[in-house]
């Protein structure tokens, strides 16, 4: 029974923590511009993040090894350092976008100046991570993020074209009127894939498994959480694509701010729909801000061999604690300059796709190695999926920057 409760809680947490500001903006905008045509990317990206989080979680459970110590050990110091610098930058930019997103949501609810709210968001995040245990942080923000189910309810209530929605899961050449729109379609496809497979999710997931003291017997729990939790989480992103296609496109609304996403829930369910959407987004952005700050600290500590972990007393993991505090402070400083958080998220997502192959290659190398993983090594199916996604994200990484430049950062 206890094991069942743990699996259930893990699944709900994974579902609630699936969507963050980057994915929210790209799915909503993708749906508004291209209808259901990009849904197959949601499916592809979700299976990809399942495959690699499952491997990283399994390595954490069986060998108690986290991703970045593997990266340095397998890729060597030079390539490892390059991946560390790039992933820290991505984590910092993503954290900045989430902090900015929280302040924008609070501004909608209170009318207080944005820059003051940024400082309050910083204070809130630091206090939460300082005072709450890892398990409570995971549960509070994961379960709070579940309020975003209101988007799913709103889509069902709007009454989507189910046949059109289902056909979106089949990859096809985009139906656009201009070659520039075709480029834009591929830019959105790469960005959406990157936003679903953001590397911090794998770093955080594996380090979290070690924080939760997973053992080899937890390999089944890991698999259930990843497959069921992420699949249900992906439903939320499908709902956002649907609302983009059915609600925003029909009303000619261009959703450029995270708060605009709440409009569909408010129009369908009134005040409670609005508050459920805003609160759900707040927990999702807050959870992602914490995960990115902790991921940056995990990565640094694992690369340099420092003591790390939220389960340790702060005084016993000094440089780790100082690292996440510094990431929160620097992230807030970035958005305090007045830069638009949504622009920050676009840069971080395009940049992160370049980091993905460097992150996933060492994970695949260890997960498939029978000398290291024994009976828990990848089977042929995991290996095939692992190699397929490694090729797919490498192609996406090569295409990301040219597409970003050719489409002027998705502005056409």
């Amino acid at each position: 029974m206890a094991q069942f409760a743990e699996i259930f809680l893990g699944i709900l947490t994974a579902m609630g923590g699936f969507v963050e500001i980057g994915e929210l903006m790209f799915t909503l905008n993708g749906g508004t511009r291209f209808g259901y045509q990009l849904l197959w990317v949601n499916l592809l990206g979700t299976i990809g993040i399942m495959v690699y989080c499952e491997m990283a979680g399994r390595i954490a459970a069986v060998k108690r090894r986290a991703v970045f110590s593997l990266i340095r050990e397998r890729a060597g110091f030079g390539a490892g350092l390059l991946t560390l610098v790039a992933s820290t930058l991505v984590n910092l930019l993503t954290c900045a976008a989430e902090v900015g997103g929280i302040a924008l949501l609070w501004q909608l609810m209170s009318g207080t100046p944005y820059r003051v709210l940024l400082l309050l968001a910083l204070l809130f995040l630091v206090l939460v991570v300082w005072m709450l245990s890892f398990q409570w942080i995971e549960r509070l923000f994961g379960l709070g993020g579940l309020l975003m189910i209101v988007f799913l309810a709103a889509l069902v209530s709007v009454g989507p074209d189910w046949g059109e929605l289902a056909s979106g899961f089949v990859p096809r050449w985009p139906q656009t009127s201009h070659p520039r729109d075709t480029l834009l379609y591929f830019y959105f496809a790469v960005a959406l894939m990157s936003s679903i497979m953001l590397p911090y999710e794998t770093y955080f997931y594996a380090s979290g498994g070690i924080e939760d003291h997973w053992k080899p017997s937890d390999v089944g729990l890991n698999r259930a959480v990843v497959i069921v939790g992420f699949a249900l989480g992906a439903l939320l992103s499908v709902a956002l694509v649907g609302l983009g296609a059915e609600f925003y496109a029909a009303k000619h609304i261009d959703p450029q701010l995270p708060g605009t996403a709440a409009l569909a829930a408010a129009a369908t369910f009134g005040t409670w729909g609005l508050f459920a959407a805003l609160l759900g987004m707040f927990f999702a952005f807050g959870g992602a801000a914490i995960e990115t700050a902790l991921s940056a600290a995990y990565n640094l500590a694992q690369f340099a061999g420092w003591p790390w972990g939220k389960h340790k007393r702060k005084r016993d993991a000094g440089r780790f604690t100082l690292s996440w505090l510094a990431v929160f402070a620097l992230a807030t400083l970035i958005v305090e300059t007045g830069v638009d958080p949504v622009s920050v998220v676009e840069y971080s997502i395009v940049f992160s796709v370049v980091v993905l192959p460097f992150t996933y290659f060492p994970v695949l190398m260890v997960a498939k190695d029978r000398r290291i993983m024994g009976d828990h090594a990848n089977g042929w199916f995991s290996n095939a999926l692992g190699w397929f996604y490694l090729v797919a994200i490498t192609l996406a990484a090569l295409a990301a920057l040219p597409l970003f430049l050719l489409t002027h950062g998705g502005r056409g």
Binding site: R65, A304, G305, W308, A317, G318
Partner: protein
């Protein structure tokens, strides 16, 4: 650890692996190795830990940047301190006895002044 080969072949098994002290506390990575020449070939005599050991592995410009930002500190851990080589390198003494993890302890002392630390 006398039964362990101490040749160049050891490089892959030890270099860039985590170092864990006698109390099971992580205290750095094997950033470089020190070799001595013997009649039977070079043998490992110490693990080198710290920026002074990893910075020389960087390209020249980055080496200078690393020295300016994190210094050239280096701790030499004699080979006889190594008790086990697996995914991590286990040592027979504590980090403080070997001079490893000094900065962590310094930051830790500073953090004790704050509540709930």
């Amino acid at each position: 650890m006398s039964h362990q080969p101490r040749s160049l072949a050891l490089l892959r098994e030890v270099l860039d692996h985590e170092v864990v002290d006698a109390d099971d506390v992580p205290c750095g990575m094997v950033d470089d190795l020190e070799f001595a020449q013997t009649p039977s070939g070079p043998v490992v005599v110490a693990l080198l830990v710290g920026p002074g050991a990893w910075a020389p592995r960087l390209p020249a410009l980055l080496r200078l940047a690393a020295a300016a930002t994190v210094g050239r500190g280096l701790v030499r851990v004699p080979w006889h301190e190594v008790t086990r080589i697996s995914e991590v390198i286990r040592l027979g003494s504590t980090a403080s006895a070997l001079g490893l993890g000094r900065l962590d302890r310094k930051v830790g002392r500073w953090l004790t002044r704050l509540p709930m630390s």
